[in-house]
Amino acid sequence: MPKFEHIKKILVIGSGPIIIGQAAEFDYAGAQACLALKEEGIEVVLVNNNPATIMTDEEVADKIYMEPLTVASLEAIIAKERPDGILPTLGGQTGLNLAVELADAGIIERYNVRLLGTPLDTIKKGEDREEFKRMMIEIGEPVPESKTVNTVQEALDFAEEIDYPVIVRPAYTLGGYGGGIAGDAAELQEVAKRGIAASPIEQILIERSVKGWKEIEYEVMRDSNDTCIIVCNMENLDPVGVHTGDSIVVAPSQTLTDRQYQMLRSVSTKVIRALGVVGGCNIQIALDPYSEQYYLIEVNPRVSRSSALASKATGYPIARISAKLAIGYHLDEVVNPITGYTYASFEPAIDYIVTKIPRWPFDKFPQANRSLGTQMKATGEVMSLDRNFEASLLKGIRSLEIGVHHLQLELNLTDEELAEGIVEATDTRIFLVAEAMRRGMTVEQIHAKTEIDPFFLYSIEKIVQIEKQLASYSWATVPEELLKEAKLRGFADVTLKEMYQISLDDVRNRWKQLGWAPSYKLVDTCAAEFVAATPYYYSTWQGRDEVKVSEGKKKVLVLGSGPIRIGQGIEFDYCSVHAAKSLKRLGIEAVVINNNPETVSTDFNTADQLYFEPLALEDVLNVVEKEQVDGVMVQFGGQTAVNLADPLSQMGVQIYGTSVSSIDMVEDRDLFYQLLKKLDIPHIPGISVNSEQEAINAAVKLEYPVLVRPSYVIGGRGMVVLNNTEELVSYLQETTFSFPLLVDKYISGMEVEVDAICDGEQVLVPGIFQHVERAGVHSGDSMAIFPAPSLNELQKATITRYTEDIAREIKAKGLINIQLVIAGERIYVLEVNPRASRTVPIISKITGVPMVELAVKAQLGQKLESTGLLADIPFFAVKGPVFSTVKLSGVDPALGPEMKSTGEVIGLSYQIQTALGKALHWKEGICQPLETGDALFISLSDGAKEEMKGKLSALSGLKILATPGTAAYLQQHGLAVEAVLTKAAQVKEWHQTTEIKAILNTPTVGNKQGRFGFELRQVAVQLNIPCFTSLDTFQSYLQVKAGNVSDPLDLNVYLQQKERVQI
């Protein structure tokens, strides 16, 4: 059936900012789908307030609304645009929820918009456990039996009926609090009692536990003609019990017979048919390892993280095809662009094994609870491909960038601790398993403790065996056959280097002597059955190479940014993608290396040649040698890529842009200070210290407060502001970082940020961002306003001059990011990043200056045409951070020098308050503006009390609750206090009767568990009450008036109002 002729304009809902559980995969899917619609001649109207996305690029959608994802905002857009259809299945949970809310509010009907893709009641069935269960029972498919009970006896009776183990889930508690698993009646007595007590309505759900079963996923597509295909299936290495987003996952399944594979395939098609999904659907199934019994666990009737993974794992573009199906096409009418020959109704056959490993933020949050369960905690993931599992796994580990390149962590554990440690799933369990094998535990013993399928354990055992064999030789005596086996099974050159205490050159030279190099194989969806033209490759150390290396054309390698983590997010993928596209436009061949399956940069048509490989030195070098690239661009892939500049350059690879020695000049503290001194630019006084005593002396010399941090870290990891020696000593005792540390004077002033492009001489500054929070809050976590509203012309000129001087002095070529703080008359330079930054995509979008393209040209030697600071845009853009703290128990949401946010949103308006409001109230149910009579809880530190003086009138008309000290202070200044609360629990109680709209809590010493403030902030997270820990953010919030929502505008309208400099 051809496409629907009556659908000419479609509203696409994006997923908004990156949060845990909803990452870059929706940008990848959304961008692909929008382009698929546009090529059908459909006008695409997009709503997405995540500015760091490719999806919100001009060429992806016809109209781009970077507006809040609220019902009011969507209604205004629908009223204005009058789309024929709305496609919510590309926007993750956010998109689906919004579609449901729009339908419930009658808006879809009122404006006669057709909901495309998946029917509304299917969305609801997928989301509502009870509805889902009912439907499965209707079609005769098993779901784990469950029953809601109110007493321990009822729990015991039901458990008797369904058999142990059972899961106890208390009703209405967050994150599964108070629940657990009971293996027998005695345990259930305990757990049920505890669960009933934890539930505010004294109710628990008893459910059959399938913990330890195999967790299998199917990615299914269905069209309106009822044709169903499986894109691929996947098997979780971690059995049921760990969220699939937190599991190591392989594709295709490895331990299922064809009978089982087909049984679950049939179940999946039956379920998608019953749901009536048109498009893609993810189906999760638990399979008993010892019988053919299975249970359906979950369905996601939309594109998802798993579908992005399945797309990248097979080459089948699920989002693109889903979009085509949504407008009426059938699977057998859509050509698979990877082969250009087969149709979308062909089930991909793959001839390699894919491993996905999650990337967790525990390196940034050492206080967080590292155990993995039903709540996803990973911020990103890596994917690796090879022709055996061992190599696929080891490559994945190398891609994680967690400081290890082998299945080996430095562990200080006794055998008993180790045996204990592997029982619970954590981010390090896979390493512990390998270590347990090194110490002699058998596959059977480990299987008994972990329930990980022996197939996977045997593979890990194989890795350990190869290690042992290698270790029995010296580099001179190790036999060729063994080295070959090690490389075939994915051992890194670095692993050999360390094992034999030799240099990386020694290792690589030996391969050259032997004539060994990795072969690159094609990802083609069809296991080589048909010719495929798509240049999408992975390496393997066996067999024939398939890459036809082009010659004659200039060729540049762009390094991607790897997995999404706090401090290095989707913005760098945006930059990598634009770099590749710019190169292509310039007639240069763009080669990209990346390993993040969620991204646009790893889409099959972004680069001329895509290598799905770890971003480790050896893997990059192999591609450089294979492709014979002219040079490498390192500015776009975040710190990951910048860190490779020096080692690559030492290996003789040309690095485009700012030179390695210049990078050093701004990254090495001492060189940096010398540079600033030479340019007569003030910098914050600071001292590098090597011992506790030195640190104390330095702090005394600089005068408290001081900022302490390790050198060379991303995202302010381990950075703190300390007010006295006591705090300093306690920090030094607790920190996991080793000396040298940097001690800086902490200067509390207004922070501003500049992103500029330099061609080695001239500099273009598209604008200046002003942070809402004063210095001391990580730039990634602060709200920021563009153009800077508080700067005077002199300050702007000084900032521009500093930027120009620094850029010129280091002969910067390409992008440069400078952070400054203004304290009184002085403007200090805080740091210089010789690379793309978080704000580059935002500035590019709101100013219309194609920053990445200009940077690419500058790196290739072209001169900038316009220079200097550009005139201010006539509207305001506010960048707001978005946190995922609710998913990470134990993490303090208080703002500080260490970055904690996972994503960002943007608010656009001609009025600054409205723009602030859109960045704060960016989604339904988040941070609504205060109205007269709303309740507010306040707890201020002494310093904050001082500062609040004179600004207290803004609080009048609100119902104020406060801690005793704060209450006394407020009353003293003439404000009525409704109640005085001393315990966090009281806040909870209050909230149940009178909704507390916001909490203001300025912390004294952050991160101390057990303190009132810490507890209070945890309660805020649990109850989803906005909690302000900075007076600056709070004051901005107070400025936002309820109902003050401006007319939503297409980004192009904002941009058209001002004639920008022709770039």
């Binding site: 169903c228 295909i229 064809d258 056959a349 001839d351 296991a527 024939r544």
Partner: protein, 354 residues
């Protein structure tokens, strides 16, 4: 032991031998299924062939008692990437290499099966030899007489309450028999060369022509007798059976460039427009232009290459499919075709008895 797979194209791949170390030779084909190696190696249609698995991890779940498609491995040899010697599955009884050894099947592991697939795709007909001596010549004569070799010599009756189906064994997969028995049929498996009179004596309600190995034209001498039989009873034909029916009505068959072997082939029902995922294993196809449309019409086509995937007789209850509705390995999307056939047998049976 170190060994080689030598190709008729001159390519040589080194690997590790398993199973019967004496080696073997035959036509080299590839199967793209990601599961189902046990079903493949016991499928009689692979008689005379060396099967390359494009999926590189083979043997992961071992070999069990349930999934054999015939009583023993039938293909000539196996080429695999990574052979798993430590399988993990609750049903597994043996490793794949144990089975290969037990039944004298030659295999080679540690080979770049993707490269071999490439070569087959480019050359079409390729022969291979698994050997310890890479200088040996590869015989390039296609095996003949495979149907006679694999077909049963005796009649075997399986009882059931439903219609009685006489199943011509050209090298049948056990799953075809199972599909019929599971749906209540009584089935008599007969040798491929059973004549009309013998069939009539069995008093069947329907005829099943099964899959089998080799060039369908080897069956030319048997066509007149077979045509008589299928015109007398409701008939369902699979794979080689489908090609035989086409030949019986004057159509021509030809070699596919490099075969359809895998579990992911989409076919379209031309009447309903519905698309199904099917399991396939055939090196020959019915030439569409040669079909006598006076008698036969095309019922299914392959979505990718548009080749003929099924036929129906315009007047008689004869239907055929090139793919494998019995699955094993592969999806069972088209399993309802058996039910349709059985209903047809019943309906006609009732008419006859009415």
């Amino acid at each position: 032991m170190k060994g080689y797979i030598v190709l008729s194209t001159g390519d040589i791949f080194e690997g590790e031998l398993f199973g019967d170390q004496r080696g073997c030779s035959g036509e080299l084909v590839f199967n793209t299924g990601m599961t189902g190696y046990q079903e493949v190696l016991t499928d009689p249609s692979y008689a005379g062939q060396i099967v390359t698995f494009t999926y590189p991890l083979i043997g992961n779940y071992g070999v069990n008692m349930l999934d054999d498609e015939s009583i023993r491995p039938v293909c000539t040899g196996l080429v695999v990437g990574n052979l798993c010697q430590t399988p993990s599955h609750y049903q597994s009884n043996n490793t794949l290499s144990e089975i290969a050894e037990q039944y004298g099947l030659s295999g080679i592991a540690g080979v770049d099966t993707r490269a071999i697939t490439h070569i087959i795709r480019e050359h079409g007909l390729v022969f291979g030899k698994i050997t310890t001596d890479p200088s040996e010549l590869v015989p390039t004569k296609p095996a003949t007489g495979q149907v006679a070799a694999v077909s049963t010599k005796t009649k075997t009756k399986h009882s059931g309450e439903g219609p009685h189906i006489v199943m011509f064994d050209f090298g049948y997969k056990k799953s075809i028999l199972t599909a019929l028995l599971d749906k209540g049929c009584a089935v008599t498996v007969v040798p491929y060369n059973t004549n009309f009179k013998e069939v009539a004596e069995l008093n069947p309600d329907g005829i099943m022509l099964t899959n089998g190995p080799g060039d369908p034209k080897e069956m030319l001498p048997h066509l007149p007798e077979l045509k008589k039989i299928i015109e007398a009873y409701p008939t369902f034909a699979i794979c080689l059976g489908h090609q035989i029916v086409a030949l019986a009505y004057g159509a021509d068959t030809d070699r596919l460039p490099y075969g359809h072997r895998g579990s992911n082939h989409p076919v379209k029902n031309l009447k309903t427009g519905k698309v199904y995922m099917t399991s396939q294993n055939h090196g020959y196809m019915v030439k569409e232009s040669s079909i006598n449309t006076k008698y036969l019409e095309v019922s299914y086509i392959n979505v990718n290459d548009k080749s003929v995937e099924g036929l129906t007789h315009r007047y008689l209850p004869i239907s055929t499919v090139q793919f494998h509705p019995e699955a094993h390995p592969g999806p069972s999307d088209t399993d309802p075709l058996f039910t349709e056939f059985i209903q047809q047998c019943q309906a006609i049976g009732e008419k006859n008895y009415a």
